[in-house]
């Protein structure tokens, strides 16, 4: 009898605890059954990709696909190891990383400054905002030939086109972030004696930060997209060049290696932004751990 009531209490305790956890976690795993507990562990995140890999290998083995159209995972893996060992992949990756890094820095600096000017001052908004929306709708890749004409086929054109593409997600999100800062907090800051710079520093910028980070996430994605496009059109180095070159040489397995590198880069940038969020947005209740 007592055992039954004990069990019951445990369940109640867990359920009560459960209701205080974030909804996503509750849905992912209530912790009531073994099944749920397994799926709530982080390791299971790798299951999906592993299954995909298995299906891929199976398709190649059963379907006798030509390595030209679909190389097997093991083939791709060997090729990848080879490309790492002879330095081709690493040097291409470093070249591309440098271009993306410089372009991002440039784009974030310019997009961020323009967003602040535009969102914080009426004159800035009048002058900057319409222009930004005009440029925003131009397809970036259509500008690529123009950038080549202006900046040549060297590093500049590639860095600048990445910077150009990055400016817009940063601008739009930071602008919206600043404008969506709670008016009540701004009023509170004013009556607490904060001046214009104090308000910007203590109220407006921290308030706009979450949306700025959303912009940064988008910018990271678009920067790779644009860089590869630029490298495919005119370059003698970099990941985009590797893909085009592999196409010309009918090395489908190399193309697969580079594509996998891109997926890993996407994962890495996502983790990077998550870390930045965890570090800068620790005040948000979803990150607060008691």
């Amino acid at each position: 009898m007592s055992a039954v009531s004990y069990d019951y209490e445990v369940v109640v305790g867990k359920a009560a605890e459960d209701s205080e956890r974030p909804i996503a976690k509750r849905i992912a795993g209530g912790g009531l059954s073994v099944w749920r507990r397994i799926w709530s562990s982080r390791g299971t995140r790798f299951l999906g990709p592993l299954i995909l890999l298995g299906v891929w290998q199976l398709a190649v083995s059963v379907g006798h696909a030509s390595p030209l159209s679909l190389p097997s995972p093991s083939n791709v893996f060997t090729t990848g190891r080879h490309l790492v060992a002879n330095g081709t992949l690493i040097s291409a990756l470093l070249v591309s990383l440098r271009r993306v890094g410089l372009g991002l820095a440039l784009g974030v600096a310019i997009g961020g400054s323009l967003a602040l000017l535009s969102s914080l001052s009426l004159v800035g908004e009048r002058l900057i905002d319409p222009v930004m929306h005009m440029f925003r709708t131009m397809p970036v890749l259509a500008l690529l030939p123009l950038f080549v004409v202006w900046f040549g086929i060297g590093e500049k054109a590639k860095v600048f086109i990445v910077g150009w593409a990055v400016v817009f997600p940063i601008y739009i999100n930071l602008y919206a972030g600043v404008r969506s800062v709670d008016e009540k907090l701004v009023t509170a800051g004013k009556v607490l004696g904060l001046g214009r710079w104090g308000l910007i520093r203590h109220v407006i910028l921290p308030g706009a930060l979450p949306q700025f980070l959303t912009g940064l996430r988008l910018a990271l994605g678009v920067s790779w997209l644009v860089l590869v496009a630029a490298e495919e059109i005119n370059a003698t180095s970099g990941l985009g060049y590797m893909i085009t070159n592999a196409q010309n040489l009918s090395e489908t397995n190399v193309m697969f290696v580079v594509l996998i590198v891109f997926s890993l880069l996407g994962l890495a940038t996502d983790i990077l932004v998550r870390l930045i969020e965890r570090w800068t947005l620790s005040w948000r209740s979803s990150f607060v751990t008691k």
């Binding site: 009540k184 509170a188 800051g189 607490l192 004696g193 921290p206 947005l281 005040w283 948000r284 209740s285």
Partner: protein, 285 residues
Amino acid sequence: MALELRDEVATGSEPAVTQPSAPLRALTGDTAYAGDPAGAAGSARAGEPVVKIRGYGRRFGDRVVLEGVDLDLADGEVAALLGASGSGKSTLLRALCGIDHGADGHVTVPKERAVVFQDHRLLPWKKVWRNVLIGVKGSKADALAALQEVGIAGRADAWPGTLSGGESQRVALARAFIRRPRLLLLDEPFGALDALTRLRMHGLLRELCARHNPATLLVTHDVDEAITLADRILVISDGRISLDHRVGDDASARSGTAALALRARLLSELGVNPNHRPHQNHEKR
């Protein structure tokens, strides 16, 4: 005529009585008051009102919310401002905050003023103690002392998002009192709290006001809260102050039949007749 909001510039946080006395000026906007050191030194003269409002008016479009309001508040006086919603009580408080720039009249308020809103308005990205120090030059020790005073020093390093409503409002009070305000403006500060927490906060506020002695304007729609806390009860209706009642000093004025009589009077002034059946209970406009 535009609203002239004048910040008195008092030197330091000396008690008002020790300030050299000089004629209080600037009531009707003759001289450049704030930039005049001789006038500034005299602003905290004992016996002079901390707040002077003359001919204050506010309209939004064609709708006149307040007109011809005159009001003085003395040092240490706790005045409750009652009014139905939309009566303009928060508008008047905003004018005293210095965040309303569309009004008429003359308002003189001290520079050392602090505001507590109904919602705590703590910056969620600053830890509690940093919130207390916003706009103030001070150390963490100063913030801790202020938090100690409101009984919440233990949460100094917490994020505001983890505080309960009552705790947040305590922090908001600490943030107000660390400024050593000569004028404390409270905009329905306990309106969002549960009944028990509200009672505790009433006790805390009385304690803090007794210790720091600011002139206090408490905007509320709670008649009982006004009777409990205020030395003086003002009722706004029809765009003006229609009642200015001083509550007696002895405790009996706030309890028993005296309080009941006052309550009934305030309610009828607010256009509420508690004896009416609900369907007859219309707000008087």
